[in-house]
């Protein structure tokens, strides 16, 4: 496919020239924020921060759904596994690879597995569902984190499970919505001049899903894709708006994202889930930012059957500044534990565990700045 042009160095150079010109005309420091682990990967892997002019700063917000999954929910799921066993039921727990390793004060799902529980890593909720179809006499629970992009697949599979009345398949929903988190950051005082919207969340919610952030908070936005050229174009488009004093939302990722988003997926999500206030690890409770299965589908939520009360847990280990990293207030290199006590092999905080965690991404690419 001809899209290799999106890796094109010459084009990247041209866009960088445009960026430099715009930045010079603006003449003051400009802070741009993105809220996506995959964007952070693009930025760090291609050394974009070091290529940008001095006065253009790129901050990384809460772009990692496993990083913000509350420790209490991980602990509660572990409790459910133990309680089920006490009651003579063996649960097969499935979740994603990075969720599996997230540390809490009472351990991780990986620790649970080493205690002899059946915990399996899956690539997709579809794989989890297929296990349920095969092992009909066992209960399969998918611990289901994720933003809109991951919620859509969850809704697709649940819709089928409900239709086919597959009773041995359930989820533990820790799904979260992205725009309310951005809104919360703004309200809590994180200041930025422009926002790069996550391309794949936007695939689901559309440009439309972000519009209110521009209208209500006066923040210019660009929906951007994930090749270095996409991100650079996003930066350029934002700078141009800022220079002209325009407050708009533009779409750079037109090859994938539509204005109205993926309406089919939106309908599936809306038909199954209610929007509720929800806690984000290290960020507190964010109004209308979580998804809970609707009353009529409660039989597909494991918490309907097991009521457990996990202990109050500290959000983060002492010294871990994940909270500030997730708010876009600090970069990992400002954390005294970064690369010393805290590494991907021995992670202290969730931002170092996940492939999408800003700390792990910085570590992996050797922090080129």
């Amino acid at each position: 496919m001809e899209l290799s042009i999106f890796h094109d160095r010459e084009l990247a150079q041209k866009i960088l020239q445009g960026i430099r010109r715009e930045a010079k005309k603006i003449g003051r420091e400009v802070k741009l924020m993105h809220v996506c682990g995959t964007h952070e990967d693009t930025v760090t892997r291609s050394g974009i921060r070091s290529l940008l002019p001095e006065n253009v700063k790129v901050m990384s917000g809460p772009g990692c759904p496993v990083c913000i999954t509350p420790a209490e929910d991980i602990a509660a799921m572990m409790e459910i596994m133990r309680k089920a066993r006490e009651e003579g039921e063996e649960i097969i727990l499935t979740t994603f690879g990075d969720m599996y390793k997230i540390p809490t004060a009472v351990g991780s799902f990986a620790d649970l597995k080493s205690e002899g529980f059946d915990v399996r890593i899956v690539y997709s909720i579809y794989d989890s569902y297929k296990i349920a179809l095969k092992e009909k006499d066992k209960l399969v629970v998918h611990f289901s984190p994720g933003f809109e992009t991951t919620t859509a697949p969850a809704a697709g599979i649940l819709r089928e499970a409900i239709e086919k009345e597959i009773e041995n398949f359930k989820i533990y929903s820790v799904h979260r919505l992205t725009p309310p988190a951005v809104e919360a950051l703004i309200k809590q005082g994180t200041v930025f001049d422009g926002l790069i919207d996550p391309g794949h969340v936007s695939t689901i919610i559309g440009v439309k899903g972000w519009e209110y952030i521009t209208k209500e908070y006066g923040v210019p936005q660009v929906v951007a894709g994930f090749e270095p050229v996409d991100f650079l174009m996003g930066v350029f488009m934002l700078l141009r708006m800022i220079r002209k004093g325009e407050v708009k939302i533009e779409n750079q990722y037109t090859r994938v994202v539509k204005y109205e988003g993926n309406v089919e997926a939106q309908k599936a999500i809306e038909s199954l889930f209610d929007i509720v206030d929800a806690k984000w690890r290290a960020l507190g409770v964010i109004p209308k930012s979580g998804l809970e299965l609707k009353e009529e589908y409660k039989d597909y939520e494991i918490r309907t059957f097991y009521k457990v009360k996990p202990p109050e847990l500290p959000e983060l280990e002492k010294g871990c500044i994940c909270g500030a990293v997730l708010r876009g207030l600090a970069l990992p290199t400002q954390c005294p534990l970064f690369g010393k006590k805290c590494t991907p092999r021995n992670p202290v905080g969730p931002c170092m565990v996940s492939y999408e965690g800003t700390c792990q991404i910085f570590y992996k690419y050797g922090a080129l700045f």
Partner: protein, 74 residues
């Protein structure tokens, strides 16, 4: 977990497709991409095709951008 990647559809059976990520083939559900055909490119995220990739728009948008950049240089 969140990485979503483009892949080419090589086979379709009901709401499951076989997609090719540059040599690696996997199953992907196509519940949310209507009228997808063999040969189309889709963005796949955790086992689901979440949208079709529109090659024509992609190339058009790049051309449009090159022109904007050129105009700015002048």
């Amino acid at each position: 977990m969140c990485l979503a990647m483009p892949a080419k559809v090589v086979e379709i059976k009901d709401n499951v497709a076989i997609v090719d990520f540059g040599g690696i083939r996997r199953e992907a559900r196509i519940d949310f991409v209507k009228d997808v055909k063999v040969g189309d490119y889709v963005i796949v995220h955790t086992g689901f095709a979440i949208e079709k990739l529109d090659e024509k728009t992609a190339l058009e948008s790049l051309k449009a951008w090159e022109e904007v950049m050129k105009a700015m240089e002048e």
